[in-house]
């Protein structure tokens, strides 16, 4: 359950991407334990397989060297880390608050037989048909946009 600590290791450029990969696998594992096998598969295929490869590809393409002058970085990090620590504590308190709160316990419905691919598909194409369409539009925009922004020679810069 403490896989997240691994991700804190995201310090160096390519390594951080790789550690994110590890983190994704762990999350996928979590999904399996939560009866979300379909999502686990998706997580691995899409995130690990596609998105991260894309990242690594870009990192390689842009040929980024170790970018840290840890010194300067550390100064900023120290301050913000400090603030964030305070924030974490605050959130921790609120979490404690959650557990203690009489309203908080969520109704646990045991043994729901969900999590298989079919029922998700069923739901996706019935109730959530509309968002599904929107998601497809988002992908369309992203696709065209990426092409527009990066393809050479479609807009000649002014002389």
């Amino acid at each position: 359950m403490l896989t997240a600590t691994l991700v804190v290791a995201l310090r160096n450029p390519i390594h951080s991407a790789l550690s994110l990969l590890v983190m994704f696998f762990h999350v996928a594992g979590l999904y399996v334990t939560l009866h979300a096998e379909f999502l686990a598969a998706i997580q691995i295929i899409v995130y690990a397989g596609a998105i991260l490869v894309l990242y690594l590809f870009v990192v390689m393409l842009l040929n980024i060297k170790r970018e840290e002058q840890f010194n300067k970085q550390g100064v900023v990090a120290m301050f913000l880390g400090f603030v964030l620590l305070a924030e974490t504590v605050l959130l921790g308190i609120s979490r404690g608050f959650l557990i203690a709160s009489p309203h908080a316990p969520l109704p646990v419905q045991a043994g729901a037989s969900v999590g298989n691919t079919e029922s998700i598909g069923e739901l996706l194409y019935s109730t959530y048909l509309f968002p599904f369409e929107i998601a497809s539009l988002i992908l369309l925009v992203a696709m065209v946009g990426a092409v527009i922004l990066t393809k050479k020679g479609i807009m000649e810069p002014k002389s």
Partner: protein, 101 residues
């Protein structure tokens, strides 16, 4: 599974915060994007956990959508990064300072 939902919440909260810190702390735009991915993943953990505990499949569908959006954002984000890079390359900047956000 007997793991109480609070644990998942705590985990996702932690991951979310790490992502948040990442956005704030890192200067490399790619790592910032990765951190945002972390935040989205935290969200997904939440959704799945709740879905499982509420016996409501909808949560998993949401993860599906969140994933799609994340993918789209990555595509656009990386495109922007490349354009940015290309731009600055084209005017001959020393690449040691490149893309340090």
């Amino acid at each position: 599974m007997d793991v109480p939902v609070e644990y998942y919440l705590a985990l996702s909260g932690l991951v979310f915060l790490i992502g948040l810190v990442g956005v704030l702390v890192r200067r490399n735009i790619i790592i910032i994007l990765l951190s945002i991915e972390l935040m989205l993943n935290a969200t997904n953990i939440n959704f799945v956990a709740f879905s499982s505990y509420l016996g409501n499949l909808a949560g998993q569908v949401f993860v599906f959508f969140a994933l799609t959006v994340a993918a789209a954002e990555v595509a656009v984000g990386l495109a922007i990064i490349i354009a940015l890079y290309r731009h600055h390359e084209s005017i001959n900047v020393d690449d040691f300072s490149l893309l340090k956000w």
